[in-house]
């Protein structure tokens, strides 16, 4: 009995492994390790005897590319065009187009603003004008693809006014301005490591680089100048050392932040490039090669050291061109794998054998709901002085200031931007969120009053054409024949007015896993 059950089990797993692909989500194209990323990932999977997932279908690729690269859904038109395109190189072409979209800068400025704590009010207290200036600077750096080493150096060494010299806000966006606290924030942001777990001497030695920062007010309301404030003559110099233990010699009159920054961004620095590529990888693939991506330490090894080393070399060799790292990863088959695993092995996730499901970020979800329904959202700052005007068509991903928010964003786990930790963002789908999505008048009204739905109803001939239009608008793909059948049957069974049936379909698709999760 036992044996035969085992035999059935074997037969079932074997059948599972060889099952036909699911054309909605998967593509039959063979995997080929053409890029170094794929060679390293697939080689490791092979050694672990883990079968990677199929490649994603074009529709899944399209939606994933938009959501991962620009935090924005494709329009029905964009989806249709891409799906109809016969060009075999269309995936690479779409990636190139998306990397140049203005939403690329919006979305990644949002991510960096989480890490750099861009928030006007408690507890960061940058003040609205300064938060705006800081965000503007970050977004411009991303839009211009400023080399990442320069980006970091400017943040670390800036002096001047919080309103006019925006990167100085890096040193203001901290709850504590003690040198050790600043050192912790620097280590977290640019080294991906948590200095509170270091031996205290090591942290104290690094803190020395941040012990000569001055802050002073000016005559302008809430303006603050951040500046290099040399040690008073005769004051004893603290022992200052880099995090690798090398002692630093600080010439009097030289801003020690510059000494630290030059050490940090040197190509041989073991933390700097590693932190950057590991974060980008985790943003695109759902988990770091070192995981959590901001908890790099000797006893938390990378799941694929060769892969991490390859990406580090590429970043340095490209002169810290982060966009080129995006392009490398996005063009890999690894990133383009389907989210349907072909294995039940526990190590599959950490070795990137499939693309993991992730609920949309709060801001991306808010925008997706607005865009599919053709509606807008109201954002406010709880503390209205100076009064912030937020235009009606504001997208959540381009909100500059963490203090500008909405009940929806709060509910869906937008990070408070208090600490810069990646884990501040909570993408776990809770019952309260389900309650909101399934039944709140907020979403219901958007569907009922949706100009986009109205337009679709008026411009289509009803029936299958309307259903296809809705699917393209909400899920970026046409319905399968089973889905089409289910939809047609529902309209007849439920005895609804035509508009109610359309609303229910939109509602169901917007509550489906395919809408709510990156996949």
């Amino acid at each position: 009995m036992r044996l035969s059950l085992f035999a059935i089990f074997l037969a079932v797993t074997a059948a599972g492994a060889e099952r036909a692909f699911n054309p909605t989500f998967e593509s039959p194209a063979p995997l080929s390790a053409q890029s170094p990323i794929d060679a390293l990932v697939f080689d490791r999977l092979k050694r672990l005897d883990i079968q990677p997932a199929f490649l994603s279908s074009d529709a899944v690729f399209l939606r994933r590319a938009y959501l991962d690269v620009i935090g924005t859904l494709p329009t029905a038109q964009e989806a249709l065009q891409f799906l109809a395109d016969r060009d075999p190189a269309k995936r690479a072409a779409l990636i190139d187009r998306l990397l140049e979209r203005p939403e690329f800068a919006d979305y990644w400025a949002m991510k960096w603003s989480d890490l750099l704590r861009v928030k006007a009010e408690f507890p960061i207290n940058l003040w609205p004008n300064a938060a705006q200036a800081y965000h503007h600077w970050i977004r411009a750096a991303i839009r211009e693809n400023q080399p990442y080493d320069r980006f970091a150096r400017e943040l670390l060494t800036a002096s001047g006014s919080n309103f006019r010299d925006a990167p100085v806000n890096f040193y203001r966006a901290m709850q504590s301005k003690e040198p050790a606290a600043i050192a912790q924030t620097v280590a977290l942001t640019f080294m991906g490591t948590r200095a509170e777990n270091w031996p205290p001497e090591r942290l104290a030695a690094m803190a020395g680089f941040f012990s000569q920062i001055g802050y002073k007010e000016t005559g302008e309301w809430k303006e603050e100048i951040v500046y290099f404030k040399p040690r008073p003559a005769g004051a004893p110099a603290a022992a200052v050392a880099f995090p690798d233990g090398t002692p630093a010699r600080l010439a009097p009159g030289r801003d020690p932040r510059e000494v630290f920054a030059d050490w940090l961004i040197a190509p041989k620095n073991p933390w700097f490039a590693r932190n950057a590529v590991n974060r980008v990888w985790s943003w695109l693939l759902g988990r770091g090669i070192i995981h959590e991506p901001d908890d790099i330490r000797p006893d938390n090894p990378p799941s694929n050291p060769e892969l991490l080393a390859y990406l580090e070399q590429e970043l340095v060799a490209s002169h810290y061109n982060l966009k080129s790292i995006y392009r490398l990863i996005l063009n890999s088959q690894t990133w383009q794998l389907s989210s349907i695993p072909r294995t039940t092995r526990a190590e599959a996730a950490a070795n990137f054998a499939y693309y993991p499901l992730r609920r949309l970020d709060a801001e991306v979800l808010a925008d997706a709901i607005c865009e599919t329904t053709g509606t807008t959202e109201t954002y406010t700052s709880a503390i209205p002085e100076p009064f912030t005007f937020i235009p009606e068509d504001q997208r959540a991903i381009s909100l500059p200031d963490g203090s500008i928010t909405s009940a929806f964003l709060e509910l869906f786990g937008r990070p408070p931007r208090d600490t810069g930790l990646e884990a501040e963002r909570n993408n776990h789908l809770t019952a309260a969120q389900q309650l909101h999505l399934l039944n709140a008048s907020h979403v219901e009204r958007k569907i009922e009053q949706s100009p986009a739905l109205q337009y679709l109803i008026r411009s289509s001939k009803g029936g299958p054409q309307l259903v296809t239009g809705l699917y393209l608008m909400i899920l970026s793909r046409p319905p399968t024949s089973e889905e089409l059948q289910a939809v047609m049957a529902y309209g007849q069974d439920a005895k609804l007015k035509p508009r109610e049936a359309v609303n229910d379909l939109a509602w169901a698709l917007m509550n489906s896993a395919e809408f709510l999760f990156r996949h």
Binding site: F122, A431, A432, Q434, A513
Partner: protein, 446 residues
């Protein structure tokens, strides 16, 4: 004082994150079990609080601290306060029903903080702290939700901290405790035929259609059906089931006022405030520890103060007196604190000139509060204002004194630490060394 020693140590960052301090509000958090479990105080007198928040700052002279001898420039047309069922206590002539319930509540006529702007005074009255520091402290509701909510074994599907119906706005109820301790604002209007609580009741959608739609969703959820083993989707499915227990199951019926007798609903008053009081009673019956009725009734009477009083006080009188009587009759008043307070009072001297035309300004020097139930004795007056209601005459009561007394009655250890996201020391009630003005707990009425 309570005798519990709460095992509430400051969480470190990662624990705080794991406990969802940064996640959405606490309804049915998947990882609830990971939160620190707080011991419930064995000898707490109060189980729940109904806070009637008089946003805008109601006039103390025209409600619970009348000054008929101060003359027309102070009391305007309201010159004849009425006796209550407690000898020696008189209140506004516009509150005849509450006058019959004075044995159930006590009045504090010497509340003071000296703050005259809405936001900062709201913060002070509801946190016990003065604003201006780097820290934003949590309000009473968030603290009660911390100590008597999910971390303390509360298991209801209804969130432990509810606001009827709109959030206060411009006020971060949870402070540094984070969004998990924010209140759930019901939205909707309980005076309507169907109280459309946001997310729980969708107006215009029948239960049948809800069920049809749910099946429809399951049928069309192609990706989820393709990935039955995915842990993320399994937890999403569990969350969906819990949501539907509120939408279609019994839990959400707490908001269904059709379950109450018409006569009782009439008694509370068929308006938003009156019906909110009734919903609050139903929530207390289900064990919800903190309910704020955000009574945005136009109490900020810079202009035409007396017209507003004549229009709004009868509504307040009806709703509040019905609530007190109903709670008492059901034997719930002994374990339920009813707390009526605005952020400040109003200037005793009437501004007759245009453009005010008989208005009153903000007045934080002295104002009134009402407390009832949950261990508060009724039938007393604490403190006094001077002859014109301008300054404290006897026994100042600072917000922290009143809040500390409520915590004592709720069995919340006021010396306990609040979990600060960075582990900074923060106490439930400030230590004497923190310099927050205090004149001692309200021993007179507990």
């Amino acid at each position: 004082m309570s005798h519990t020693n709460l095992p509430l140590v400051p969480l470190n960052r990662r624990e705080a994150l794991r406990c969802g301090l940064y996640s959405a509000f606490g309804l049915l958090l998947g990882n609830r079990a990971a939160a620190p479990l707080l011991a419930a105080a064995p000898n707490a007198k109060a189980k729940s609080v109904i806070q009637i928040w008089m946003w805008g700052g109601p006039s103390h002279l025209d409600t619970f601290d009348p000054k008929p001898d101060a003359g027309n420039d102070y009391c305007g047309p309201l010159k004849t306060p009425i006796a209550t069922n407690v000898s020696g206590i008189r209140i506004s002539e516009l509150l005849p029903l509450l006058a019959q319930q004075a044995d159930k509540y006590s009045l504090i006529r010497s509340m003071t903080h000296g703050v005259n702007s809405h936001e900062t005074a709201s913060y002070t009255v509801q946190t016990g702290r003065m604003s201006g520091g780097r820290e934003v402290y949590p309000s009473v509701g968030a603290v009660v939700s911390l100590f008597k909510g999910y971390n303390a074994g509360y298991k209801g599907l209804i969130p432990p901290y509810i606001v009827l119906t709109q959030p206060q706005g411009r006020f971060d109820e949870a402070g540094f405790l984070g969004s998990r301790y924010k209140p759930f604002a019901t939205g909707g209007d309980p005076a309507q035929a169907r109280f459309a609580v946001e997310g729980v009741v969708a107006p215009g959608i029948t239960d049948q259609r809800q069920q049809d739609r749910r099946e429809y969703l399951h049928k069309l959820n192609t990706l989820a059906n393709t990935l039955p083993g995915d842990p993320q989707l399994a937890s999403a499915k569990e969350a969906e089931q819990q949501a539907y227990e509120l939408i279609l199951g019994d839990a959400g019926k707490v908001f269904d006022l059709a379950q109450e007798k018409d006569e009782l609903r009439d008694l509370y008053g068929r308006n938003t405030f009156g019906q909110s009081c009734l919903v609050a009673r139903r929530l207390v019956e289900r064990g919800v520890p903190y309910i704020t009725i955000n009574y945005n009734g136009g109490w900020d009477t810079h202009k035409l103060n007396f017209q507003t009083m004549r229009r709004k006080l009868p509504e307040m009188d009806k709703g509040m007196s019905a609530l007190l009587a109903d709670l008492a009759q059901r034997g719930m008043l002994d374990s339920t604190i009813v707390w009526w307070n605005g952020e400040f009072g109003r200037t005793p001297k009437v501004q007759w000139e245009a453009p005010w035309n008989g208005g009153r300004g903000h007045h934080g020097q002295v104002f009134s509060a009402l407390v009832a139930g949950g261990g508060f004795q009724g039938g007393h007056v604490v403190g006094a204002s001077d002859a014109r209601g301008e300054e404290v005459k006897d026994r100042p009561v600072y917000p922290v004194d009143l809040i500390g007394t409520m915590y004592d009655l709720l069995g919340i250890d006021t010396d306990a630490k609040l979990p600060h996201p960075l582990g900074l020391p923060a106490r439930v009630i400030p230590a004497p060394a923190d310099g927050v003005k205090s004149a001692g707990r309200l021993k007179e009425i507990t």
